[in-house]
């Protein structure tokens, strides 16, 4: 590389870092004060981009029209943030944190469909900035003037935020609330107003980040989850709650990505390495590296536990007769049901195991995973590739697939159990995303974006009913096994570790080792679910390993409720059935699902099963 091309890549990276910083700073601010991991933050960025597109069309392509549109779009997104806070989140600040997460998932679904309805499914390419569409020549290379402006905007916003946070009463309140919001309340500060204002500022930053990208990036519906993943990475690398850290991390990641594109394909010692393919992964590699070396990010500090830990409710030992009766009932269904229902039930059974394995790790083992689809997807791909590329019989592929998912869990888990809380969750997301991009780009092996086709079961399982029984037996056994493990000494040790890591270690539990083992166990069983699913569909696509698949799993678990064993099964059934039923009737199934989830969140803050139990308990009390 010449000096000039290095400089060009550096400038490219810095320009990309500006928006990354804006959106991450907003996320960090909101998380710091409200402790809500706002999954809808990427959706706000997307709205900023779409909003700017429409407003420029309305105002006309003049400098005033362009900049007016950018600013107005950012402010409008700020208002959307206020709406989300006031209508949804404010009602559930006292609910468990995971439930707030579920609410923000629902908001993601709703916003995606609002965007689909308003702007359509086509990518929208925005205009270049009027008056800034020329290029500046630097060392013989041409750099868009707009990029240079973006490079300047990053530090300017950083400076303004710094002034706002250190020189105003609002800033003092925000920083105080980030440390101890209950005390801030006891000093007479209305938290609700503070939270709303923080949400506004954070959302404006997300909207501005999106709107500023209008000349550089087409508005499209995939931005929400792509951007939230990027923003998570930046916030975590920089340190949660640290604006300066977010700035530093945005620059590191923006520049690293730009260099990967710039370097392209090189040959080292006869091995061809495609750096441009690394672009999708490089930020997650940086994040994994940083978290292993500095578990709280570059400039972050250990998080203070914010709320008094409510003792987790007692898990009820599953009644085996109850489970067997259900299994028997499910075994009888194909006798009465049509082919369609049988296939749907097969899906439900697979997702039930997926959800139960996720519940095991996030509930009793206390390690929330945002990337559980990694193991589901690896299981699915392992099964498909063993069958198609290695010519193994289907039965062998099906049984080996969980072992391969387990192997990946051994590697990923080794890193993950070294962290806790949100950092752990983000690292699981990073590993899932790394797996996804490998699968997505390795055309010659995984089929790339097309996936793997012709993954059909052996002849004796070709009939849908026969395959349903296989799925029922395998997944049912997996679920019962996981439930049983929770009431073994291993399960008790995990729960002890979740409730009090220090005390658990003090009585001689090798907590990290146990958590690692749990990680591998659930990884293998999620892999089993993925493998069973793959053979039932006959094909595998990269979406089985995507963030969307991971969030689907989280929605299933949280919908049913983390606090009961049966919750995830009920959640998986309702989610899968509802999605199927709604998607058949409307293009806007996401909005309907999101609306339903929001209703449930607001009505049953303990999850469906927990909520029903509470209702039954109240009913009994009234009769007594």
């Amino acid at each position: 590389m010449t000096l000039a091309s290095i400089l060009i890549q550096l400038l490219n990276g810095l320009a990309a870092a500006a928006s990354l910083f804006l959106v991450s700073a907003g996320l960090s601010l909101i998380f710091g004060v409200t402790r809500i991991v706002n999954f809808a933050h990427g959706s706000l960025y997307m709205l900023g981009l779409y909003g700017a597109y429409s407003l420029i069309q309305f105002f006309g392509r003049t400098p005033l029209g362009f900049w007016g549109a950018v600013v107005l779009a950012a402010l409008a997104v700020g208002l959307v943030g206020i709406l989300i806070e006031v209508l949804v989140l404010r009602r559930i600040y006292r609910a468990p944190e995971l439930f707030q997460l579920l609410a923000t998932f629902a908001v993601v679904l709703v916003i995606k469909d609002i965007a689909l309805f308003t702007w359509g499914a086509e990518d929208l390419v925005g205009p270049r900035a009027p008056g800034l569409s020329m290029a500046v020549e630097i060392m013989g290379r041409r750099i868009p003037a707009y990029d240079l402006l973006l490079i300047a905007i990053g530090p300017v916003v950083l400076g303004l935020l710094w002034l706002l946070l250190t020189r105003t009463r609002w800033g003092a309140l925000v920083r105080a609330a980030t440390q101890d919001r209950e005390m801030v309340g006891a000093l007479g500060v209305d938290q609700a107003k503070l939270f709303t204002s923080v949400f506004f500022v954070g959302s404006v930053l997300a909207g501005l980040g999106g709107a500023l990208q209008i000349p550089r990036e087409p508005a499209n519906l995939e931005l929400d989850l792509a951007v939230i993943a990027d923003a998570f990475v930046v916030t975590v690398v920089g340190g949660l709650g640290s604006i300066g850290g977010a700035f530093l991390a945005a620059i590191i990641i923006g520049v690293a990505k730009a260099f990967c594109i710039g370097i392209g394909t090189v040959t080292w010692f006869g091995v061809e390495i495609s750096f441009s393919k690394l672009t999708l992964v490089v930020e997650f590699l940086i994040m994994a590296l940083v978290l292993v070396v500095r578990p709280y990010g570059l400039l972050g500090k250990p998080q203070a536990a914010q709320r008094a830990a409510e003792p987790a409710p007692r898990l009820q030992v599953p009644s085996w007769t109850f489970a067997l009766v259900w299994l028997a009932l499910l075994a009888l269904v194909p006798l009465a049901a049509d082919r369609y229902t049988t296939i749907l039930l097969t899906d439900i059974v697979c997702f039930a195991l997926f959800a139960v394995s996720l519940h095991f790790i996030m509930g009793p083992a206390g390690m929330v995973s945002f990337g559980h689809a990694a193991y589901f997807g690896i299981g699915a791909y392992a099964a498909g590739l063993l069958l198609k590329r290695f010519g193994l019989p289907m039965e062998a592929a099906l049984l080996l697939a969980p072992a391969i998912a387990g192997l990946f869990a051994i590697v990923y888990g080794w890193f993950c159990v070294r962290l806790s809380g949100v950092y752990l969750a983000m690292l699981t997301l990073a590993f899932a995303q790394i797996s996804w991009s490998v699968v997505f780009q390795w055309d010659s092996v995984t089929g790339g974006s097309n996936g793997v086709f012709g993954v059909w079961p052996s002849a004796w399982l070709a009939d849908k009913t026969a395959y349903y029984y296989l799925a029922l037996v395998l997944c049912g056994a997996g679920i019962l096994f996981l439930w049983r493990v929770l009431f073994s000494p291993f399960g008790y040790a995990l729960r002890a570790g979740r409730d009090s890591p220090l005390r658990a270690e003090a009585i001689g539990i090798d907590l990290r080792g146990f958590q690692w083992a749990a990680f591998v166990l659930v990884g293998a069983l999620a892999g089993l679910a993925g493998a069973v699913y793959a053979f039932s569909k006959g094909s595998i696509s990269p979406s089985s390993i995507s963030i969307a698949q991971s969030t689907d799993g989280l929605i299933m678990v949280l919908l049913g409720g983390v606090e009961t064993l049966t919750g995830p099964v009920v959640g998986a059934a309702i989610f899968t059935w509802l999605r199927d039923a709604v998607a058949r009737n409307t293009e806007f199934w996401r909005a309907v699902m999101g609306g339903v989830i929001l209703l449930i969140v607001l009505l049953f803050p303990q999850g469906l099963v927990g909520g029903l139990k509470a209702l039954v308990a109240r009913w009994r009390e009234q009769r007594a």
Binding site: A176, Q179, G185, L187, D190, Q191
Partner: protein, 237 residues
Amino acid sequence: MAAAMLQVNDLHAFYGRAHILHGISLEVRTGEVVALLGRNGAGKSTAMKAIMGLVPPARGEVSFAGQRIERLPPYRIARLGLGYVPEERRIFTELSVMENLEVGRQAARAGVPVWTEEKLFKLFPNLARMRERPGGRMSGGEQQMLTIARTLMGNPSCVLLDEPSEGLAPIIVEEMGNSIRALKGEGVSVILCEQNLHFALGVADRAYIIEKGQIRFGGSMAELAANDSLREQYLSV
């Protein structure tokens, strides 16, 4: 007799499932310093948190300045002029002394002493010398001064002080006593949680003794000082 400024009636509170307060009743009149005495775990801190709304009361009534407050959120209670100084101090460690005070600032209230930073620095001269120092880099005694000063910035008419003498050097405890007497001199009412009877005797007008979440005694400091068996039964370690 002056009217009761703070009146607590049959207050019950839980931590999770543990029943901590079993119906306590007490009152504080305007300008009075009242000590709430008891051993570790007797329920003193919980009583304060329940009054302040930080632990939602399960049953009972709390009236402050003529208004029922047992269902209000903490910030509304604070805005009525009831100040709270937590036992753990809960200083904002990232914020400077001045910023800590800023967070506590509320508008002036009629008929109640108004505090400014300069007036507080006269009461706690140590703080004046470290205006820009982050709260996390102060000694325990300095933090204790700051946490009281921070609450006073809200111009309270009554302050709940949770174990202000805990873990402090004797000389600082003495200063603390002077500060509390100064508050009383300004007309601020105080409820003081204490295990240190000696300290309480020096500053309080009246005392309640709490044991296992119930009030066992209420009376003047003189009565308490004269009653050895009472002290023996509920306060000695």
